[in-house]
């Protein structure tokens, strides 16, 4: 039984089986590498290849639904690799008895622009990001905040600001969730839900930079 509607060309339908085979081959390459490799870090990196094979499997379906399933798959993959690498790091720290900073290489920027123009550039980026809103705007505004935090690091980071940024980021995330809930529970207020989700995700993605700021502060031992 074929579920595909007639408007889809047979070439696209015929691509499904090759895509699945490509996924299987990629997974076998990754698994073979894992079975040969003995270094733990290399095994961890090779495991990511298996995760990519998973994405090939999902994207081979090629419908709108599959497209919306790729994103959670990717997020799960990233979350797992982050969790496992944390485990690996803390194990190596326990073994060697030394503790390592979260950002092991301190960042040294000696550029003129970081001293003179940070606020102006950051404001332009944030304003343009607010105009775009959503994911894209969040990324651009986040770049502005990141630039500001990197440049102000040359002069010294105020410790309290980053806690505030992280808090606002969390609240904005709640706004995003509420927006989605509105879309599901009260579909007639879709415009409200859309706006809540768009601006929630904008603020959230922008203030991801706050997390980088927290890392900086840890490195500076609570200035």
């Amino acid at each position: 039984m074929i579920l595909v509607p007639d408007v889809v060309s047979p070439i696209v339908v015929g691509l499904y089986a090759p895509a699945i085979f490509v996924g299987i081959i990629v997974a076998l390459i990754g698994l073979f590498g894992i079975s040969v490799e003995k270094n733990d870090l290399h095994v961890l990196i090779l495991t990511d290849i298996v995760g990519i094979a998973m994405l090939v499997f999902v994207s081979a379906v090629g419908t709108d639904l599959a497209e919306s399933l790729i994103l959670p798959g990717l997020v799960v993959e990233l979350a797992e690799i982050l969790a496992i690498s944390e485990i690996l790091m803390s194990r190596e720290m326990r073994k060697s008895g030394k503790s390592v900073d979260l950002l092991p290489t301190p960042l040294h920027f000696d550029m003129e622009i970081l001293q003179t123009a940070p606020i102006f550039v950051a404001i332009i980026l944030i304003a343009y990001g607010a105009f775009l809103s959503g994911f894209t705007g969040g990324v651009i505004a986040g770049a502005g905040i990141l630039f500001y935090s990197l440049s102000i690091k040359v002069r010294g980071v105020p410790s309290g600001v980053w806690d505030g940024l992280a808090g606002v980021s969390g609240l904005a995330w709640c706004l995003w969730l509420v927006g989605f809930l509105v879309l599901f529970v009260f579909p007639q207020y879709w415009l409200l839900g859309l706006m809540l989700a768009a601006f929630g995700v904008f603020i959230k993605v922008a203030f991801k930079a706050g997390l980088i700021g927290i890392m900086n502060r840890e490195e500076f031992k609570k200035e």
Partner: protein, 226 residues
């Protein structure tokens, strides 16, 4: 409700757009037990583990510090909620996401301990969990490709079972087995249980038991052997 799932009537559904939660007496019971255990965890305090020292008569108490205890209880509560969600969800992909969340949180629960061998076991478990996400999501994607839907209620009303669906459910089973660390992968998880901090560790065990039971229900619904 006129939908029949595995011989039991659907008591009710929670329609949230296309994400549908449904209740039958069977999965409602598992949902309630997962929530009850989560509530117990949320109010309980951690135990002090006493280890006998090798070659001597002394004992050694292993205490869990306050910070570590708080984060571990939080993760255990998340794990319980994810288990409860996996019990009642009517969406195959949501089920796989809940299972993945359980896997990640299991790593987190033992992530802050000081024993090197427990961390080693958690690392191996994490690798298996990551590799298992391939058959888990791949199986769900195969079922989506062969049925055109990932709603369990919609699959239940289909009249056919194609070989692709059987392959998909087999992959799904492999994925859940790796993600929750049951039978062939149990060695690493048994090692993880040696961590001090008892009631929170038990959620790792309970979640894998309930998820496997629920998975068998889903496999029966999709393949319709009866």
């Amino acid at each position: 409700m006129d939908i029949t799932i595995l011989g039991s009537q659907v008591i009710g559904i929670i329609p949230l757009g296309d994400i549908v939660f449904y209740f039958t007496p069977f999965n409602l019971f598992m949902f309630a037990s997962a929530l009850a255990f989560t509530a117990l965890i949320a109010i309980s305090k951690t135990e002090t583990q006493v280890e006998a020292e090798f070659g001597k008569l002394g004992d050694r108490a292993v205490k869990v510090a306050k910070e570590e205890f708080k984060i571990r209880r939080f993760l255990a509560v998340i794990c319980g909620l994810a288990t409860a969600g996996a019990m009642v969800t009517g969406d195959l992909f949501d089920f796989t996401l809940f299972v993945c969340l359980i896997g990640i949180v299991n790593i987190g629960i033992v992530g802050a301990v000081k024993q090197v061998d427990v961390l080693d076991a958690a690392f191996q478990y994490g690798l298996i969990a990551m590799m298992a996400s391939l058959p888990l999501f791949g199986g769900a994607a195969l079922i989506l490709a062969s049925t055109g839907t990932i709603s369990i209620l919609a699959i239940n009303s289909l009249t056919f079972t194609s070989p692709m669906m059987i392959l998909g459910t087999l992959l799904l089973f492999l994925g859940v087995a790796g993600e929750t660390g049951v039978a062939p992968f149990f060695a690493t998880k048994a090692e993880m249980f040696r961590t001090p901090g008892s009631p929170f560790l038990l959620i790792i065990h309970l979640s894998s038991l309930l998820v496997i039971v629920r998975l068998i229900e889903i496999i029966l619904i999709i393949n319709k052997p009866f």
